[in-house]
């Protein structure tokens, strides 16, 4: 053993600048830069270039084509529907996330682990299957299909189906972000508030919520990004009726399949922009959370 200790890098001569002395827990510079190079090359091919190509292709034919593709009526109605679907599904999942986090983080009850697994379930279900199950329930040949038809209500191939599929896909986001910090917080502060005479809602608004507001915002940001970008599940239930049941991702698909590449990438660039805004907000919220944890 003593022989190998002797081979540890030691300062060779007094003339060597202290910076070149490598500690025993770092790697030689060539290893470092090789690894950095491999990592950046991998990310470039699979991440940076795909992101860049969206914007380049979108503007390939100039601003006029770009703007025309976005303000065209079908595109406008797709944007509108995407916003509507997100505006309904995000608040629903927000309320659910708060309710689920409240009982899971603040109480000890039987079946808690089962409930946690159930909340995660939609993450492991393929988007296509998420769409399929709603077709099985609300479709013409489904459980409620005949009843819905008799009452002249449409769920599948209509806006309610799109909203339902989006709700399913984005179901766990808020709950998952809220549960860990609320669990870490414990129940002492809430109990103290209770002893001092606060009611349930007062405890929630004045004690619990201020403690987890960043985690809540984080969950909402992720939930919203997924809600606006969902493709597979929405594709199954939408029926692709132009100007009526097309969301932005579906509109992109139609344009692309019609070889209107510039227009497809123009609409795609809006969603890519949304993704970038999401990442910036996410980064900002993470910094705030780190700051408050200190």
């Amino acid at each position: 053993m003593s022989a190998s200790v002797a081979t540890l890098p030691l300062p060779k001569a007094a003339g060597v600048a202290p910076r070149s002395i490598r500690s025993a827990t770092t790697e030689p510079a060539w290893v470092k830069w090789t690894l950095v190079g491999i990592a950046l090359a991998f990310l470039t091919f699979f991440l940076f270039v795909p992101l860049a190509v969206v914007f380049v292709e979108a503007l390939k034919k100039g601003w006029d084509v770009y703007l025309a593709a976005i303000v065209e009526p079908d595109a406008r109605s797709a944007i509108q529907l995407t916003l509507i679907a997100a505006a309904i599904s995000v608040p629903l999942n927000l309320v659910f996330g708060i309710a689920a986090a409240w009982c899971i983080a603040k109480f000890e009850f039987r079946g808690k682990n089962l409930l946690l697994t159930l909340i995660d379930l939609p993450f492991s279900v393929s988007p296509v299957i998420a769409g399929l199950i709603y077709v099985l329930v609300f479709g013409l040949q489904g459980w409620f299909g005949p009843w819905l038809q008799a009452h002249d209500l449409k769920v599948i191939f209509a806006v309610p189906g799109i909203v339902l599929a989006t709700v399913f896909i984005t179901f766990p986001f808020v709950a998952r972000e809220l549960i860990p910090p609320m669990q870490a917080q414990g129940t002492e502060q809430e109990e103290a508030a209770r002893v001092l005479g606060a009611g349930g809602w007062q405890i929630f608004w004045r004690v619990t919520l201020p403690n987890v507001k960043w985690a809540l915002l984080y969950g909402v940001i992720l939930c919203n990004a997924r809600a606006m970008g969902e493709f597979g599940a929405v594709s199954v239930v939408s029926g692709h009726i132009r100007g009526q049941t097309n969301t932005m991702p579906l509109h992109i698909e139609i344009l692309y399949n019609e070889y209107q590449f510039a227009a497809a990438f123009a609409v795609a660039s809006l969603l890519a922009g949304l993704a970038l805004v999401t990442l910036v907000l996410k980064y900002w919220v993470e910094q705030r959370m780190k700051k408050e944890a200190r």
Partner: protein, 277 residues
């Protein structure tokens, strides 16, 4: 009140348990459990031979092979490069590091349809990257692999990164004083600590890739028997109004996904125990 009396293990002075749990259970049932059960109940109405026929015809089996094979390969590539990316982000300083770190999450945030058309354009024969490659990527099974690699990229990085950050320098210093060189320290000390997180990341990337649809259909070319993934086959059957056939295949995929979910839960419990020590 019934929920509180039967389920609560310990009395609590905090209010709202009944309301919160009641709403949670109702919402989960309506949105997730009842619709999911529809898939299994629909399949249960099929006879066994019809079910077997639906889930094991050559075209379906070819789609399983492609979906599972490409997902596995993509998760493997992500495990390897993800480990390097996580290492580089935690241990080294280099220009634009924070930007790179933030962009790793892009596949979570970028809608899959956008990723699909971008990758197709890039790796097509006349694309920025495709024109330099001696083989075809877009519209072949290799394209499926590329799309699934993109989709699964953040998982390994984001599961390994926190473990690496928490790793105590003392452990490595101890290894060095005992005479290990850097490579030995990595293989025998650091890597075993990272293993549970690495496996979890791999499994998460694999599970995500299995169900992926949006990014793949653009780049795959979707030729039956060659580059057709299972989720697409489900949609094809649906469009032909073969609801039973579509649901039967969906059940096979759901069972595979649930088994993976159990495996991932087990891995995460293992990782927590490892870290707790």
């Amino acid at each position: 009140m019934i929920l509180k009396r039967t389920l609560l293990k310990r009395h609590s002075v905090l209010p709202g348990f009944d309301l919160a749990l009641g709403f949670t259970l109702l919402y989960i049932s309506v949105i997730v459990l009842i619709p999911l059960s529809a898939a299994f109940l629909k399949t249960a109405t099929m006879t066994w031979p019809a079910f077997w026929e639906a889930v094991s015809s050559p075209r379906v089996v070819a789609s399983y092979r492609l979906t599972f094979g490409a997902s596995f390969a993509a998760a493997l590539v992500n495990a390897f490069f993800g480990l390097i990316v996580a290492w580089v982000l935690v241990r080294y300083q280099f220009p634009f590091k924070r930007l790179v770190d933030a962009l790793v999450d892009l596949p979570f945030a970028l809608p899959t349809a956008v990723a699909g058309i971008a990758l197709t354009a890039l790796y097509a024969g006349n694309g920025w990257i495709g024109q330099f490659l001696p083989f075809k990527v877009s519209f072949t099974p290799l394209g499926v692999f590329v799309a699934l690699t993109f989709i699964g990229l953040p998982f390994v990085v984001r599961t390994v990164q926190p473990v690496l950050e928490d790793l105590h320098r003392e452990v490595e210093e101890a290894a060095a004083t005992l005479g290990a060189n850097r490579w030995q320290t990595f293989v025998k000390v650091i890597f075993p600590i990272l293993t549970p997180a690495l496996l979890t990341g791999f499994a998460l990337a694999f599970a995500r890739a299995l169900g992926e649809y949006g990014s793949v259909i653009f780049i795959a070319g979707n030729m039956p028997m060659v580059s057709e993934i299972t989720p697409l086959l489900i949609i094809t059957k649906l469009e032909q109004c073969d609801y039973q056939g579509a649901t039967a295949i969906a059940c096979v995929m759901l069972v595979a996904a649930f088994i993976l979910l159990l495996g991932i839960n087990g891995l995460q419990a293992w990782a927590r125990r490892r870290q707790g020590r």
